[in-house]
Symmetry: C2
Subunit: 187 residues, 2 copies
């Protein structure tokens, strides 16, 4: 759990009691490549922290598997469109590289908000920063070609290539794997 609390401290350091409270509603999971953490149709009731490994969120668009996002070590992953609305999610979470994960029970977490304003503040800040990232991703999608986005992605996450099949990267970029191959081929 230490690793998790170090990550939290980047946003809002917690008191010992708050950390204990979070520990109590969390569990450690190990999961192997290609396994699912969450399935399509279920309502999201867990926030995951990736200690080690890689995961993605994906969904089906017209029967085609689309990767919405990747998450690496030392990051949170959650299907916010379900977590914050209570609606069932059309999305799934899948492990792409053997992973160690902390699973935080979201229902219990939200209850902790009442007794620990510092915890509410922590997650407010975490999701504010995720929100800001998402806003700037829109700009990237709308005004850059697939090639530019691919290069930007590599800058952002250079080890992505080592860990993730290209077909997932292609769908993340919004193109076919054939197109991605072509992009990679030029030089």
């Amino acid at each position: 759990m230490d690793q998790l609390f170090k990550y939290f401290a980047l946003f809002n350091p917690l008191s010992q009691e708050a950390e204990n409270a979070i520990s109590r509603i969390s569990s450690m999971i190990t999961s192997k490549k290609n396994e699912h953490l969450q399935f399509i149709g279920h309502t999201c009731k867990t926030i995951y922290f990736i200690k080690k490994g890689v995961a993605r969120i994906y969904y089906y668009k017209d029967g085609i598997d689309i990767t919405e996002s990747f998450s690496f070590e030392n990051n949170i992953i959650a299907r916010v469109e379900s977590l914050f609305t209570g609606n069932p999610s059309r999305k799934a979470i899948q492990i792409l590289e053997d992973a160690e994960i902390v699973a935080i029970n979201a229902g219990e977490l939200f209850k902790l908000y009442d007794t620990f304003p510092e915890i509410e503040r922590l997650f407010r800040k975490i999701f504010e920063s995720a929100y800001v990232e998402t806003v700037s991703r829109i700009e990237g999608i709308q005004f850059h070609s697939a090639e530019e986005r691919y290069k930007a992605l590599l800058c952002d996450a250079p080890n992505l290539l080592l860990k993730v099949p290209l077909k997932y990267i292609a769908s993340y970029l919004g193109i076919t794997q054939v197109s991605l191959s072509r992009i990679r081929a030029q030089r």
Copy 2:
């Protein structure tokens, strides 16, 4: 201010004291078409609530005016990428239809978070829901043509057309106004 507190109550109803505290750090503004609420390069220190009128956030991409978002009556507008980071914003806020606006001092508001957890919770929820909207907008941009996005936009905000010049809608959709005209022409 009543209208604002009704809007707030949709997310998290406030106590009388909390409402008073917010009133104290807010001011009423009226602004005419084409005026600016916020300029490029300034750090965002205000959250606006639109009681009446229309506004947009825009920025320049390669010298071209791009509309990032529109906001209508009964909605919040803020440049979150600056508000949450403290960085100067590359974006501006402009009024598109004569407006009455409540301006909330963000610095003071964030201080209120310490004394009024209910206010922190309120804004947490407001921005969580904005975040969810933004996530789904990405899907719209990546997997729908400009034509589909235009139609979806009209569904979403039917009175947009009456209030906003088409050139702004075009840049919001990521296309030129010539292309938008062509899309509108077919039937």
